[in-house]
């Protein structure tokens, strides 16, 4: 296949809007191809397929979210076609619709960001029903019994082995921490409030969990950094915890949906932006990457392993509340939520996300997410892109929001606008790089032929909403913003070694309700897999 005469944005190879031809063969980008198929990309924008570093698309949590929201589904029904399955969309889309909508946006790889290890099989089952995109998932480790036990006993080698074992057993990709220590304390209805609080019943602090797992991450040579949802998420004044977390270590650390952790103020009445402080720290410290978790006004379904935070959110809103604690490993909570322009706190949250995008200087270290479906559904990414690329666009929306925003944030003082090159960085090049996916996020020779081709119009939102073409593994799967062909993507996982020691097996037989032999995810759950090796 030849993609002819397109305007190419390929930041990992330093290509910024050059007119050139791209050749594809056998699912890869090649130097030249004899195949006859030609896509005339004259006047079109060619980018690598999008790579989403943090989204909730498969598994027990999102599926409870789907169960919880029939009132949502009926607002967005998706009929079947000859080539696509039916489903529903809105805030908690069904698996098929998730795959189709990501592909239509030009996204080709997505990470499911929070998986209870014992529920890993569930995630892989849903992955098999999530078409079009490549997938990976991050098992939750920040409140795992073995992690707490080995840190308490100062058994670093055992901890390292356990983490490697767990990645293998779950077919996971990265170490995920959510409110480290706090979720274990929540199992007794408590929480932790600082990095140095003790976890209930353990002589361990969140700081120790974060630093030890970050060290494990580097010693195992995992492709991604530790992926951290900080303590005190959502709480006024939490930007200090965030900075403390980042400065607790020198290893690589990815702070996820950092918007929810960049709050100043002492309570809801004095709620304000802590984004300048957080951005300032990140600008000076290269070991940190982050994704934003940008708020988009409208309906959302909040869901996280952070049980205590979800309880707080239930108390704040009075909305229906799900809590689901998972033996030995983690927990979860779900609460529907509406972000309103005229609500001062919501409007400040919206502005903080944009401040972070605009104040963090290096686009290679700040990525586009909405923490789908927490701050809004992923298919609103084009909206966020339009706010980043146009000061005027965000000014228009700013004018509609609560007027307190200008006082409590610095957004109205910022006039930076993202270029197309920078958009390509924060949506694909940098996320692929941060995940250590060498064949994704670029269009160099040997890269996976995952390509998004857009028609650039005056309206950036419209330009990015429906890709003109999407090529996945070398085949055209989207044409004129519609699915043209079904496709089953790959599942990436990391083989870091690790063995099930007698001690691990013994603890399983004592405290789990599942036999150890039935715990690891079997081969049958990975119809198309690719194993990524460690450094």
């Amino acid at each position: 296949m030849m993609i002819k005469n397109g305007t190419v944005y390929d930041p990992l190879n330093g290509i910024d809007g050059e007119r050139m031809d791209i050749f594809v063969e056998n699912g890869k980008i090649v130097e030249e191809s004899k195949e006859k198929e030609v896509i005339d990309a004259s006047g079109l924008m060619v980018m690598p397929g999008g790579v989403d570093i943090h989204s909730h698309i498969a598994g027990s949590k999102i599926n409870i979210g789907r169960l919880l929201r029939p009132e949502d589904h009926r607002k967005d029904v998706v009929p079947r076609t000859e080539i696509t399955r039916s489903g529903v969309g809105y805030t908690v889309p069904t698996t098929f619709v998730t795959g189709y909508r990501y592909a239509e946006l030009g996204y080709t790889t997505v990470a499911e960001a929070a998986v209870p290890p014992i529920g890993a099989r569930h995630v892989h089952e849903e992955f098999a029903d999530t078409p079009m995109i490549d997938k990976m998932m991050f098992p939750l480790m920040g409140n795992n019994y073995f992690v707490l036990k080995y840190i308490e006993e100062d058994e670093f080698e055992k901890l390292k082995n356990f983490v490697a074992f767990l990645l293998n057993a779950t077919k996971g990709y990265a170490i995920k921490m959510v409110n480290p220590g706090g979720v274990e304390s929540w199992k007794w209805g408590k929480n932790v409030e600082s990095l140095d609080d003790k976890v209930e019943n353990y002589d361990v602090t969140p700081r120790e969990v974060i630093t030890n797992l970050a060290k494990v991450n580097e010693e195992l040579g995992l492709p991604h950094s530790v992926h951290v949802h900080c303590n005190n998420l959502g709480a006024p004044g939490n930007f200090e915890t965030t900075i403390e977390t980042m400065s607790a270590l020198r290893e690589r650390i990815h702070i996820t949906h950092i918007q929810f952790n960049s709050y100043a103020g002492e309570d809801w009445a004095s709620f304000a932006s802590g984004a300048p402080e957080v951005a300032n720290y990140i600008n000076k410290n290269e070991h940190v990457t982050c994704d934003v978790g940008q708020v988009v006004f409208g309906d959302a379904t909040t869901m996280t392993a952070d049980g205590p935070w979800q309880h707080t959110l239930y108390k704040l809103t009075g909305n229906k509340w799900v809590n689901s604690d998972v033996e030995m490993e983690t927990g979860a909570g779900i609460v529907p939520y509406v972000f309103r322009e005229r609500n001062l706190v919501n409007a400040i949250q919206w502005a903080i996300g944009l401040e972070l995008f605009l104040l963090i200087e290096d686009p290679w270290r700040v990525y586009l997410t909405t923490d789908h479906p927490n701050a809004g559904p992923f298919y609103h990414y084009p909206k966020v892109i339009s706010w980043l690329m146009s000061n005027e666009k965000r000014g228009e929306l700013l004018a509609k929001t609560h007027k307190g925003v200008s006082k409590m944030t610095t957004l109205s003082d910022i006039d930076r606008e993202y270029s197309l090159y920078e958009i390509a960085i924060i949506t694909r090049a940098a996320t692929a790089k941060a995940l250590g996916l060498r064949d994704k996020g670029h269009l160099g020779i040997g890269a996976d032929a995952d390509i998004a081709i857009y028609k650039l119009e005056d309206d950036f939102e419209r330009s990015f909403s429906r890709a003109k073409y999407v090529i996945k593994d070398g085949e055209i799967v989207v044409r004129d913003g519609k699915i043209a062909k079904g496709h089953l993507g790959r599942t990436f996982w990391v083989d870091a070694g690790g063995e099930a020691t007698d001690e691990i097996k013994e603890i399983f037989s004592e405290y789990y309700t599942l036999n150890f032999e039935n715990y690891p995810v079997q081969e049958e759950y990975l119809p198309r897999q690719e194993v990524i090796s460690c450094k």
Partner: protein, 424 residues
Amino acid sequence: MIHEHVVCPFCGCLCDDLEVTVEDGKVVNTKRGCIIAKSKFMNHDRDRAKPMLRKDDELIGVSIEEAMDRAAEILRSADHPLIYGLSSTECDAQRAATELAELVGGTIDNTASVCHGPTLVSVQAVGVVKCTLGEIKNRADLVIFWGCNPGEAHLRHFLRYSVLSKGLFTQEGRKDRTVIVVDVRENASTKLADIFLKIRPNSDFEIISALRAAIKGHEVGDVAGVADGTIKEVAEKMKSCKFGVLFFGLGLTMSKGKHMNIDAALSLVRDLNDYTKFAINSMRGHFNVAGANEVLIWQTGYPYSVNFSRGYPRYNPGEFSAVDVLSRKECDAALIIAADPLSSFPLRASEHLAKIPTIVIDPKNSMTSLVAEVVIPTAMVGVECEGTAYRMDCIPIRLRKVVEPEFPSDKEVLEEIIEKVKAG
């Protein structure tokens, strides 16, 4: 040959520690499972179905190919086919059944519709505070069973999960726990209780509401025959425990009030979390009814009673539930898989099922297969073929295969029918 760590494909407990001995392709012994598990494995080859078609009002033996051809023909020519059952099969078959329902524009429903359907509706209204069974094993010091009787229905529940089990913070097992059973009569489970609260039939809603008021400090008085002092005592135990759990079954979901009872119970447990840690878990019956809900949710957004006649999923229990679709004579064909509605449905629904062309896919003969137009035998899931099942707390476990099947699996049969419908 001895198979270890085998998962029992009978009830929602999904015990995964069975030892099954197979000699010459036959199961000769099982260890560790309950008597039902033993019976399921030892008798798996008894009363097996054969491929049959109804000709001149009589079921005649045919090839399985012929039976599948006829099934596809029935579904293709039907205006409104119903697919029902699914709780005693594995998830890949459930996935295929959903695809088939979408393809033929029919209604799909699973047995939750006649057991924990009200629970699912209530979760949609109220939310739920739940946990996996290991949390209960490791932490619970107060265990309440309401309208359920695990002593006879989930035989190893007490032992493995809820009462006798020892865990991280319950090293003494039974001694560390207070057990309350609420029921309308004495049964195998009430014998185990520290407190047996015997209530009048159909008074659940009032008593749960009274408890909810009492934990908030309101004076309630005697309610539905239960003394004020008893309500206060139980409410106090609920508030003062460290980790409580309320298990409930069909005694709550299918007695008067139905989802109102569950709304009240879910709200009670939610409110208890203002004082302590408390969870509420449903006692699911068939081994993969939870999976039937999970699969339908991830494919359509809804747990049961889903209709595809407009090309996209619509959900409405009461409108698209199997009993109602049949009783109102709305469907003109039915595919029954991994369930036996004739043994439990109301007469009016069963009569319609007998009248329309009904396809039964099942490893064994059943009441429903007696009135079927087409009978398609399949491998027994968890004995003769693998697959995923979701435990009552929604933990997914892979079922094992211990003997070779004579017939294809549910999944293979459904996929074959899908191909035939598409080709036709």
